[in-house]
Amino acid sequence: MRAALRRPAALLGGLLVVVHLVVAIAAPWIAPFAPTSLLDAPLEPPGATYWLGTDDLGRDAFSRLLWGGRVAMLVAFAAGAVAVLGGALLGLAAAYRRGGFDDVVMRLVEMKLAVPTILFVAIFVTGFGQSVPVLIVAVGIIQMMGVVRTSRAAGIVLMEQGYVRAAQLNGESGLIIILRELLPNVADLLAVEFALRASSALLLVSALSFLGLGISPPTPDWGLMVEDGMALLESEPALVLAPALCISTLVLGMNLAAEGLADALGLDAARGGGG
């Protein structure tokens, strides 16, 4: 970790993420207005009262910006956690058991690759509604399959190490070996995976919100704000550019942090980020 922070890019990334996190957590206290309240002053230009102006319903754009990452980040981090935990268990189990179980798991991975992401989420959301838990599960499953691949590959390498064999000879059960011997040894890898998965989940969530399949109004959300503001791009560019910048800087921060972490740990972040 300390090694990662010595790299300027990684430091910048970490800083970006921390700033976004702090703002999101503190939004209820630092936002000058409630994000949904109608202030009866539609489309005010940026000024002393409304730092970024107001949108066409008369809501304070700055307050909405401060609030706008909360739900998206919640979904992205929770989905990242679901993906990493589920993916690591599945991938390591596949590496441990190999054979038929491995084949089944790898078919699942292939299936996910073959189903276009948007279709998968569309089916999920249509079937179960557009709530935050549903989004977390849907996005988590999508991100999970990539983690399965990387942790399975790492697991296969670990299986050749002596201590797994030793544990097996001691009569330890498969689950215990996976949890006690394999999982701690891929912790570094999983930390990098988490950052990558969360950043890619955030991009996905904002694309979904943009398409109307993700976070729904009245929740303030960056992706929605971009979509919503497009009609006003010419006269009120800040309503589009500010939330677009927020999404990009947060994803950028997560990616830089992941790369720095990977570099420091001697891992390969770019390749993990695929699929």
Binding site: L113, V115, P116, I118
Partner: protein, 317 residues
Amino acid sequence: MIALILRRGALSLVTLFLLASFIFFATEVLPGDALDVSLSADEIANMPAEVMARRKAELGLDRPILERYWGFLGGLLRFDLGRTIITRAPVGEIIAMPLRNSVALAGVTLLLALPVALAIAMAAAQAKGRAVDNAVSGAAIIGYSIPEFVTGLLLIAVFAVWWPLFPATITASTNDPLGVLLAAAPLAIATTIIGSVAYLGRILRVGLIEVMAADFVERLHLSGIPRWRIIWLHALPAAMIPGLSAAALYAASLVSGVVVVEMVFAYPGIGAELVRAVTRREVHVVQAIALAAAICVVLFNLLADLGIAALDPRTRR
């Protein structure tokens, strides 16, 4: 090698079967059927229940789910993709041209993005850790961090509306010759290229840096072979190996996964067709497209394996 391919082929068939079944049941459990969603709120508000029931029976929507599932599987075995529910049009005809258009978009994107990504990766790898590398990898990460819809909308705003160089939206027809269609789609292609260059550039850069640090490169270097020869003839093929499967999967995902770009630019591709089919509950169209996407993944995977075999001296031996 052949055994490996055969085994993979067999497993791929299993994947295809699982996928077909998954899509079938997933679209079946969704609320509403093709008839319901073909009617507007006003129509449903005014249509008597008997009429609805009669029309469902006419369309075969009242048959039990398993019966329809077997019918669907039987059709697949006969290479019959079926017909659409409401309009009775052959599914094959509906998806053929959009599929062609999507493959073309993916192909053009890769053709243009791969050399650029390669050049960037090589420049970065040559100068690892220096300003060039930092700038290039920074740009790649930024490119990777901007949502596609933002890139697309900004490209339209700048290069079609403010500075009208290119068409903002694609008015060419689904069946137009590919040349006409692609000529009408420069901004759509640019959007997919930006994302692709960023992604592929990162993968290739990492691969190259790893290889350049490897012992055999060091040895070649010491034996006096020029640096460019090392990179082109030795390091590059070796560096391609780990990147190749990721790149292949990425290429496959370009075919059906650029829904957002297709929507933003009205590109007549398979992704938008898929979204439309889901919202219309045209189960057979959804199935057919998902299968086509799956076949793409399987094919590209196979190609990557063959490519790795060709590039990697260890597998060749």
